[in-house]
Every structure is written in C-alpha cells, then in structure tokens.
Amino acid sequence: MSKILEVRGLTRIHGRGCPLCIEATGPESDTNICPHCASVVAAHDVSFDLYRGEILGIIGESGSGKSTVVKTLYFDDAPTAGEAIFFDDGQQFNLFALNAARQRWLRNHRFGMVYQNPHLGLNFNVSAGGNIAERLLMSDVSHYGAIRARARELLARTEVLAARMDESPRKFSGGMQQRVQIAKALATRPPLLFLDEVTSGLDLSVQAAILDLILEIQHELGTAMIVVTHDLGVVRLLAGRTLVMKYGRVIESGLTDQILEDPQHAYSQRLVAAAL
C-alpha cells in the first residue's frame, strides 16, 4: 500500500502561548486551556499516516481537537507547529511549507471537504449545479457543456434528482444538501477527502444512506478519507483505523475493531461504554 499522507507533530494553539502550555494541558491535566496564559491548546503532537484508499476515523468529544486536525490539513486554519507530507503522483508536497497559491491549488484540485454544516461547504446563492461548477472552475475546467455533464453525473451518483440541479440548495432537505456537498467535494476526483461530522443532525435512515454512499465512493474511486465524528457507529461502519482524541491529544490509536472492542485508555473505555 502506498502512503498518501504523513502527519507529524501537528500542533495548533489559539492564543499567544507560553512555554508551560503543553505541560499544563492535556488529558492528565483535564483541560486544554493553559492556566498560565489562557491559550487554548486545540491540538498537540498529532501524528498519523494515511494510505491510498483507506478511511481513518478520528473520534472524541466536542472540543477534543478532531476538527482542528482536518481544518489545518484542508488549509482552513494554519497550524502552530508540525508537518504534513502529501504524496501524489510520485510527488511530495510539504503542505504547511507551500505558498498560498500552491495550497489553494492542492485544495481545489486534490482535496475535498464535506462540512457538518452545509452552509460552510455550499454557496446557497447559486444553484446546486453552480456549486459543483464552482469547484470545477476552480480546477481550470472552462467548458460549459463539460461542466454541466459532470455536475449532472455527480448529482446522479449522489442520488440528487437531476431535475433539481438548477435549484438553490436552500430549498433542499438536510440530507440532500449533504449529498450536494459530497458531489461538490468529489467533482475533481480528489484522492483525499475530509469528512467533518457529515451525518450529525440527520435522521437515522438518511444517515444510513449517506454512509452507504461514502462507502460506495471509497470502493469505486479508491478515495482516501479522514472521517471526523463523535458517533462510534460511524467509525465502526466506515473506518479501518481510528484515532481517539481528548483535550487536543491522541490518546489511543489502532484498528477500529480493536479500539471499540478492547479499548486500552480509560477515556476510550468510558467513551465505548457510554455508547453501548
């Protein structure tokens, strides 16, 4: 298996930070707010590898830093320290060392993101097809007919009625908005997809349909994904490997089955017990 992403020592501190921040926060200190300088240690020393076509789950409670990890990798937020190498077509990209234009290029061409809140991922002032067009236009497709055909194909794939392609996603149900977001993220056939709480807030049958869709996409396209969720059912279904985060630290990592069936860390044990 070939590696697609290598993350080492990823750290994000909100606030000015002080030399004691790292020591004074974390699961042992039971906080992620530094008592000395009041900075928030959103994530510290997060390291993992992701392989082609693999789904990695990141679980943890609210504020544990799971979304921070994904946001920095998608360039929505800049890390305080750390390194991430993206392997693509025999090339290596040191993500945080690239200039803004190169970062935007990667984000538009090679990455995809699906947010929990469709407002973040979609522009509600343009049609569903227009949203997909935006992503294609960002990756330098400038043939109107080709854009229409690709948008239609993607919406059909994500089971959004083609007849509603030219409507604003504002008129869509939550599940349909999420499907449009997925279609938009897939528009450029990215090898790496970030999913941030994609099924939260949807009803159970819609959740199941979206999860099925994600699995099918992984099988068809071999897309590597990082799935951030607080729902253990989602990682059980999707992810081969999982990281458990608390107060910005990775406290346990390994095969999803192992973590869910035989959690080692006290917090993971509580998390798994609470879900059952």
Binding site: A100, A101, R104, N108, N123, V126, S127, G129, G130, A133, E134, L137, M138, S142, H143, Y144, G145, A146, I147, D166
Partner: protein
C-alpha cells in the same frame, strides 16, 4: 466658461489643472504603477474635487494630472459630447487649464475622458483614453470582504465570477451582463472595465492607445497598457458576444441619422411611439453626416 465667475489668478490662486503639483505627482506615480502592473487596482489618495464623488472625479483627477498646454481634450458622457456631465467636466477643464484646446472630434483629441463608451473611431498610439469608473472591483459581487478580494486578485482566483456566468447561462441561455463585463488583462488580473457596453470590450484588446481607468470614490487607478491582451471571461463553448443589433427579420439595424450599420446604437421612442435607433457615439455620427454632405456637394 462661466461668464460671471473667474478663478483667482494671483500667486495664492489655483495652479494649472486645479490640482497642486504634489497631488499631480502622486497621481502620476500611481499611473506608472498601474501601467507597470496591467489590470492591478493601484490605490491612490483621491482628492476632494469641486463636484460630487460619482460624477467622474476619478477620471477628472487622471485627466488633470496628465493634461498639458499642448493637449487637445475631448470629454464624452454616454457617447455624447453634449450631455450634462461631459459639458460640466469640459467647462471645468477649460476654467482650470487655460490654453488647453477642446474638441468634439475623436481624431483631433490627444486626451479623451469618457464615461460609458469608447469612441467608435479606432484610437491611435498617440492618444490616451481616461475612463471614469464607479466600481473598480469586479469581485465585489461575489466577495464582500476587501481583504479576501485582494488575496483572490493576487492568486488570480476568479472561479466565482465564472460561476455567475454559469448561472446566467443556466437561467437565461446566455450571459446577461450588459456592461462592466469582467475582462482579464495580460493573463492575470480581471478588471471591471467601467460601465462600457459589451460592444466596446473588444476595443480594449491590444489597443494602440493607453487606457487608464480611475475610480475617485473607491480611490483606485488601473490601466490597460497599449498592445496588452484584454480577454473577456467566457466559457470555451459559450464565447463572449457583443450586442446584437439585428431586427426580427435578421438584418442589421442602421442609425436613423447617418445610416451607420457598424456602430453601437441607442434606442429611442419617437413621438409616434415607434422605436428609433441612433448612433450612441455622437461624434462618429456627426462625422459621417459631414462626410456624406461633402460627397453630395461634390456630386
């Protein structure tokens, strides 16, 4: 010239061209930068002018910073030399720049200040066109934050403008932007070419004359330098088109005055309630009429 008012001409009075020499120097410096970076919106210290912002103060400051004793100025508003804004600006220049010649003939002018139109008569390399701009930034319709717009310009990130064109084609089967058509200059910056109709956009492309655009209220100067590419945004299979002046039968409408079939036409309603078409560029129309009269007199 206003007969009952004259500017004070003593030592404490106004300098040639109303603006003081330091102000002119600053505007010229911004012009040089704008010409060096085609399409880039160069900020400058837009002065208070003795007229409301939005009445061409940006164009006027460019004109006053550039004009000299040997220049011949033409001012156009909506294609016409006789509309209120054009007359006022021309009188102001006459008042503040003694000795400068004024003309209505495009071919005689060395400096042309315009709003809404580029003259039909092709411009020459020794001429200079100044356009008044109300809204310099084409991205303002898709991104409210100026800080973000600057980054988008820097990275030539114009996908969201194209999304607007896409939505137009979806809804109306064609691009409906009638004026201020976003145009890419020299392969990078996209500009708002002021409220000129689509008809005039191709005239920006590789124009022999330097074209300067000034936005007084928004405090920006930008330029299309001579012989520089100016390509309107479009799709590969939905090319940019200029206005279509064909009637229902498919033949090109002609100007009711001079009979021109190659000019941008304005539509009027005559006293009988019918539609009449006439050249929007009055100097072009008058020039054609004069030539026709001459030819008739000879015949």
């Amino acid at each position: 010239m206003m007969p009952h008012y004259e500017l004070p001409r003593d030592e404490a009075g106004y300098s040639f061209g109303f603006l003081d020499e330091y102000a002119k120097k600053e505007v010229r410096r911004a012009i040089l930068k704008a010409v060096s970076i085609p399409g880039y919106q160069t900020p400058y210290a837009s002065r208070e002018m003795p007229m409301g912002r939005g009445f061409g103060t940006g164009g006027l400051q460019l004109t006053l910073a550039l004009i000299g004793h040997n220049d011949t100025l033409k001012v156009i508003d909506q294609g016409s030399d006789d509309s209120v804004n054009a007359v006022n600006l021309r009188q102001f220049v006459q008042l503040t720049c003694p000795g400068v010649a004024l003309t209505e003939r495009t071919e005689d002018a060395t400096l042309i200040q315009s709003r809404h139109r580029i003259p039909e008569q092709p411009l020459r390399a020794d001429q200079l066109l100044v356009l008044q701009v109300p809204y310099p930034d084409p991205l303002v319709v898709v991104e409210p934050s100026e800080a973000k717009r600057k980054i988008m310009h820097g990275e030539a990130d114009y996908a969201r403008l194209l999304v607007k064109l896409y939505e137009d084609i979806v809804k109306f089967d064609e691009i409906t932007i009638s004026h201020r058509y976003p145009t890419r200059i020299n392969g990078h910056y996209v500009i708002d070419p002021s409220p000129i109709p689509r008809w005039d956009v191709p005239r920006l492309h590789r124009s022999p004359a330097l074209i300067l655009l000034g936005a007084g209220r928004e405090k920006k100067i930008y330029a299309v330098p001579p012989y520089t590419d100016a390509v309107p945004l479009a799709f590969e299979d939905q090319p940019f088109r200029v206005e279509d002046f064909r009637d229902a039968a498919g033949s090109r409408r002609a100007c009711a005055r001079c009979g021109a079939t190659d000019s941008f036409l304005d539509e009027f309603i005559d006293s009988a309630g019918g539609k009449v078409y006439q050249c929007s560029d009055s100097a072009y129309c008058n020039g054609r009429l004069a030539r026709q009269a001459k030819a008739e007199a000879l015949a």
